[in-house]
Subunit: 892 residues, 2 copies
């Protein structure tokens, strides 16, 4: 942090010191402004305070490093010379915007101040200079309002109330009716309000204003909203934000001025058409805030939407043509779809921002495939462009076109996807109900950053106000949550918890269906259909399959799940949890009979009743999977999990078994465990009760023989023994299972195709992998339990303090979602090395839930596992993630 | 297992093929017979079938390797030529004994057959040859009886009943009254009984007899008693036993014949005097079985005991002198006290066995120190001679000489130590009551191998019959359990569950006190005193301290325990568990108030009430430990452990806190955890509730300042943070504790002497030791929890299946007693290496219960820990074990 460190980088108007590669230092916005300036695009000049200033500031008691002051001073001088204006110069005032810009986009989360540099004197100067007193005073009052709110921490409504009063007193309906004199009077009231509340005057010195704004941006990095957003988006606190100070340009200087936002392609569908909105005579905030309903960019869009207001293509044809050139230039330069902000000041186009545009999964898919077809990117690059997790949006059902529906209202199709849920009107309640297991749909007039938690909790979002780029729309698309925006005929009565559309009322708790793709909201639950996974999706999967070396299996045991997973491309079953089968009513009774039996004879008698049912369970799976390998885990959970819990259940079991409720209680007490996770389960049951695993092995092998007989296809079983901590357990159990296989083969006259392996889910198993590998044909890493034991952390109990841990930065991510590479991953790697050293052809897979998490899949690829196994709906995600991992591993 | 493998080794009478170094192959008995033969001591010739035969036999469906038959045949031929007798030769029959001999001594557990080779014809031959028909027929009937029992699996009592009938019919009282003709008649009845029960004749072919006996010995390696004994003694099944076939010699050939057992020093006290028993005209089994009361070896022993029967020194002075020479030769040769069996056949001494003698802890200590003084062994060797665990016997209280006592009976002082308990008369009941928490004393007429489990469960053992080398005495000394033997005036009525001595009755359940050192049994509970740890003990400890490099600390928190540990030589506290302090009534109320508080303010208010009490807890410890380091672990268990459990308790807390029972239940439910071992505990509490650790840190530092002020000695605190899984937890908590230290130092004006470190008790902590070491000044391995998490094994629940695991050989030892070096130990080693690499001077210790286990201490020494910490009574054990570890590590 020496005095020689460079804290401030200039851009535009000649010399530009940064470029797009410097995102970590300059933030996304700053780096892209520098990059655009470097491309000779029309960027208002400015300078960027680096993210390192933010880090230094926040870690040093909110003090700036010494050299910053001088460097800002110098940059300001340079800006004055580039613009030919003076900061605080009443004759020719330099006005600036001050905006945050972090490394990753954080829409709506950070604060912005516009028109900074205005005071009583420079406002008068601006009036003279622009020959537009109304514009100058309007700008001044906007600045006071924004600055007071963001920097001085006053409430927004204080100023809204004053404005409403002035309009009411004048009998005005809209802001546009306010005259220059009206604004002047309002400004006096604004200044009075500041003085009253803060006990001091609104700052008139532009330098004070500037430093206040810079501080406010840096401080906002640590505000509650920012912290929540970062937590949800996995953005480390250490990144910090940059601050961009940039000469103001004005979209509100009359009818040849405008402001707009645009995407170079449709971010919702991926179509290769410009997509955006603009407003004549407005500042940028007006478009994003959703206060005025914006107009379309292109003529065709206007026609499609049946809009009456002229498109930019029609209203400002020359500037539009220039803008289209910029779009092409930017997309070619960045080789990706861009999200752009621009302003037209008296017919001159200014670029205020470009960044890679957020998009829906569908759009991401289409853009990636299209750009590959256009030759803009190659296949590998295209593959890396699609976030695997986003595919989830495409895999779930959509509304059945043939379903009968009861339309309530239509708004803008802001974020695609269909969802059914109960209506709820505030975010706290949405979060609360969601935690209690309800599926909710958040209905708001508009959303703000304070609603983030509610939006996360909701199945879908509906707003009455705001356009396609409003807060609700942007955030919902980012989350992959269906959203209908700007359903303007919708009225909400928050007090009564009811919304109405043309007199029709829908109360809190009523079920509605939202279709984000069409912008429609229906009453009740509408029928859904499975998505078609063809076209772009199929092409992407084909590329992913070509790239990946990891096999993809699924964790499934019901025929429906197995069928779904196979449809999604699962190449085998990585984990069939046989205990799930025992919970079904017809067999639970027998299973309980087994548990409650007094001796081995009694247990065997009960198991014999389960055998045929279990055999059919496996046969059904083998029929679907044909010759794909099926890893079947033998009984894992402790027996007490199967005992009756409630009074009614106890009575029923008592009646069925002839045991008294008291006897049942005694047995339950005998089986009770202090720490069931670490108790009598997994292969420990197999050691204590050989007959259970022998029955299961018999069911597997007999099912194989039967299906082979029936279909001619030879099913492949991989019998998996859970919770092994020593090779001796495996050795003993393997011997017993082989004996069963031998006798089934003799009885059926058919050789059964099987392997025996184990789960590696205890630290000791990972450490002793060399011994264990000698007795195993495969390992499957059970990273759920391995995470629990490595951390000493019960998943069931961790929810009480894990949020504290993530909030305090102790854990960056939930280790049950993304594998802890440093600890759990170290054990997986140790086991991989030791296991392979002992047995070179040992097959290695993962069947914890991490098997469906892209970051974990990348790890699995890097350490050389053979396959990952995940839940059926994660299979396509895993295929894509595995392809991406292989591509990333190729590049240096 | 080729045909060329040597399965049989000959010894004695000229060529001897083995020696004492071959114990693993020949077993202890066989190796020592060979060694004695090699020393030209009078050993009856014979041969040994190796332990490898046993392993091959038991792992190959009880079939012998092919070459064994021929090798036995050859050895038998050689034996015939050495003895000049013929196996099955009616004129000059070779008779042999067949005995087991495992690597480790297993007294009473394995089976023996004597006089093998006798049949109708050879018995007649023996009669002629010995000119003693009665002797020959007595030998024959003993053989039939023993062989039928051991090899043919008939019940002992079948033969006892027949013998009793014959005596009754003849009006005899004792066996010695039986004439040759009587024996002849009895033999016919014995043979009839065999034929009746087994449907076949008693085998007449000596070869059949021999193979039957060999098989029986090998099979007995796998019998229930042997398996139980091995489990208790940690003897692996894979060792196997050897079989020794040896020419018979007879101690029952008249008054110049005798048989005896002897120790070269007193195995009870360690005194350097011969110690043993013999019987004129008897076979060896008669001495060990305790059926006849044997006579003393030496004149002085006879005089001391006030015995009337002549000692061997007096009765057979020449043979005695020869025996004394052998004793001296053997002790000098083996450089240790020997346990010897001998037989005198018509005035000729024969050595049948020598082995290192079992001894009490007191004797081991004295013999080691004496032998070092005698120059027989050096200091290091002497140190290795004492089993650290045996010291436990010396550390516990003995009877107070001044206590008033009520003597019931006096017997032989068979195994020293004093114990108080309830009388119980059978072993199953002893085990049962002990499990239920009772302290019991097993009172039996005599004990047999079937009583092992009861003897283990008992505090002490009392028998009415048997000498100092009887089963009860040998086993009790091995176990370190006090024992009084041969209290011959004691009569037991098993049916009525009462024993009586001269008309005085003591019923089952009455409390008695046993003093194994004096052989006295008292009514009621006699007062005890603490042992004096001086003399030999102090010398041994001095040697151990000189040898060891490991520091020895203690796990203690009460002043009494801390004082005890200091007296035993603890050099510091390795683990002070602060939560134990909260369970005391005066603070539990405040602690519960803290848990039940609604917010941080409420918690702080409650903690402020605990602060002064906790401060005084620490001050008391610092006063005792002076300038020895005290490692204090901050709160570890989950909060719900402190909540009231029963109804009465809930009501009391409800009254005290003003919370309703319902509110208490709600809070308890909130805090309930599925797996508390993996839950919200350890440093996780410190993260969630900073105020708890801050209060504890303040109490520690304030206590240091106060004690320094008061005593002038500067106490050393090592603040230990439990359950860390990531360096970030440690970093955050360390910062807070340092802040407390700083403010205490400012407030008190005294610098406090402290370090901050962590427990390594989670696999992740071990793996991330490098990161963690950067923030820690010490690591203490919490191997209890590390064992639980590494194995995924809850200590509380494991008892349900751990016995199965040990029985099936999956675990050789309970991993909570002796550290699992392969798994848990691997993690400890990884953490040691990674931690020291990051911080070379990192202090490393262990504070799990393994810190007091000799095998684990050896491991800790080898991997280079700085200290071990154990419970107070284990401190001397740990000192000795640490000394031994250092010595063992020195030798290659």
């Amino acid at each position: 942090m020496g005095a020689s460190q460079k804290w401030v980088y200039g851009f535009g108007g000649g010399k530009t010191e940064g470029d797009a590669s410097m995102k970590n230092l300059l933030g996304g916005k700053g780096a892209n402004l520098a990059e655009m300036a470097g491309l000779d695009l029309p960027v208002p000049p400015g300078f960027t305070l680096t993210t390192e200033v933010c880090t230094a500031f926040n870690s040093n008691d909110k003090k700036f490093p010494d050299a910053v002051d001088a460097q800002v001073e110098k940059a300001l001088k340079s800006l004055e010379s580039k613009t030919g204006k003076g900061f605080g110069d009443a004759k020719n005032p330099l006005l600036v915007s001050v905006r945050s810009g972090a490394r990753a986009s954080m829409p709506g989360m950070m604060d912005t101040v516009l028109n900074l540099g205005l005071n009583d004197e420079t406002a008068a100067g601006l009036a003279e200079l622009s020959d537009n007193r109304r514009f100058a005073l309007d700008s001044y009052r906007r600045f006071i309002q924004m600055y007071s709110n963001v920097v001085l921490d006053m409430e927004h409504y204080t100023f809204e109330d004053i404005l409403e009063n002035h309009k009411d007193n004048n009998g005005y309906y809209s802001d546009t009716e306010m005259t220059a004199d009206n604004w002047a009077a309002l400004i006096e009231d604004y200044k009075k309000a500041v003085k009253e509340e803060l006990g001091q005057d609104f700052p008139q010195d532009p330098k004070d204003q500037l430093w206040g704004a810079i501080r406010a941006v840096f401080e906002s990095w640590m505000n509650e909203r920012a912290i929540v957003y970062r937590r949800l988006q996995d953005i480390p606190e250490s990144w910090g934000t940059a601050v961009n100070v940039q000469a103001m340009v004005f979209g509100n200087m009359g009818d040849t001025s405008a402001t707009g936002v645009a995407f170079t392609r449709d971010p919702s569908t991926g179509e290769n058409t410009y997509y955006g909105e603009y407003l004549i005579n407005a500042q940028g905030e007006d478009v994003v805030a959703g206060i005025r309903t914006p107009q379309t960019l292109t003529k065709s869009a206007r026609e499609n939407m049946g809009d009456n207001e002229p498109s930019m293509e029609e209203a400002l044809p020359e500037v539009y043509a220039e803008l289209a050139d910029v779009f092409a230039k930017l997309e070619a330069h960045y080789r990706d779809m861009q999200d752009i902000e621009f302003t037209v000041e008296r017919g001159k186009l200014w670029m205020l921002q470009t960044r890679t545009g957020k998009r829906t999964a569908k759009a991401a898919l289409k853009i990636a495939v299209d750009m590959a077809a256009e030759g803009m990117v190659n296949e590998d690059e295209a593959l890396l462009r699609v976030d695997p997790m986003s595919l989830d949006q495409l895999l779930h059902p959509t509304l059945d076109a043939n379903a009968s529906t009861d339309l309530i209202v239509t708004g803008l199709p802001a974020s695609p996807g269909a969802a059914i849920g109960e209506v709820v009107f505030n975010s706290d309640e949405a979060e609360h109900l969601a935690k209690a297991g309800h599926k909710v749909i958040l209905v708001r007039t508009e959303t703000s950053p304070e609603d983030i938690h509610g939006m996360h909790a909701a199945q879908a979002i509906v707003t009455a106000r705001g356009g396609m780029t409003s807060h609700a729309a942007v955030v919902a698309r980012g989350m992959g949550t269906p959203c209908v925006c700007g359903a303007s005929s919708l009225r909400i009565d928050y007090d009564e918890s009811v919304f109405s559309v043309a007199g029709r009322e829908v109360k809190k708790g009523e079920v509605i269906t939202v279709d984000g793709a069409s912008g429609k909201v229906f009453a009740g639950a509408v029928d859904m259909v499975q998505p078609e996974l063809s076209g772009d999706f199929a092409k992407l999967m084909e590329w992913a399959d070509r790239a990946r070396t990891l096999g993809i299996r699924t964790n499934a045991e019901t025929p429906a799940d197995v069928e779904t997973a196979k449809g999604f491309g699962a190449e085998g079953i990585g984990l069939c949890r046989t205990e799930h089968m025992f919970f079904e009513a017809d067999r639970l009774a027998h299973f309980r009979e087994m548990i409650l039996a007094e001796d081995k004879t009694g247990r065997i008698a009960a198991l014999e009743k389960i055998l045929p049912v279990q055999r059919e369970d496996f046969a059904a799976i083998f029929r679907i999977m044909e010759d794909r390998p099926c890893t079947i885990r033998l009984l894992d959970p402790p027996l007490h999990e199967f005992l009756p819990q409630g009074e009614a259940d106890v009575e029923a079991v008592s009646a069925a078994t002839g045991l008294s409720a008291r006897q049942l209680m005694v047995r339950a007490k005998e089986l009770h465990e202090s720490n069931p996770m670490l108790g009598h389960r997994g292969c420990r049951l197999g050691i204590s009760y050989p007959e259970i695993y022998e029955m299961q092995a018999r069911a597997i092998f007999e099912a194989q023989a039967a299906v082979k007989d029936e279909t001619g296809v030879d099913p492949i079983a991989e019998v998996m023994i859970p919770l092994v901590s020593s090779y001796k357990e495996l050795e003993i159990l393997k011997g017993r299972i082989e004996a069963v296989a031998k006798s089934v083969a003799e009885e059926s006259g058919k050789a059964v195709n099987y392997k025996i392996g184990t789960m590696i889910e205890l630290p000791r198993a990972a450490l002793r992998a060399a011994d264990i590998a000698k007795h195993a044909e495969f390992f499957s890493f059970g990273t759920n339990d391995l995470t629990q034991t490595t951390f000493g952390l019960s998943r069931d109990d961790a929810s009480k303090f894990l949020p504290d841990y993530v909030a305090q930065g102790i854990m960056e991510k939930d280790p049950f979602v993304t594998i802890d590479q440093d600890g759990v991953g170290d054990l997986v790697q140790i086991a991989t090395e030791r296991g392979r050293k002992a047995k070179a052809d040992l097959k290695l897979g993962i069947c914890g839930e991490h098997g469906g998490d892209p970051a974990s899949i990348d790890f699995c690829h890097r350490i050389g596992l053979n396959y990952v196994s995940c839940s059926p709906y994660r299979v396509p995600i895993a295929r894509l993630a595995a392809g991406q991992a292989a591509i990333r591993a190729k590049s240096p």
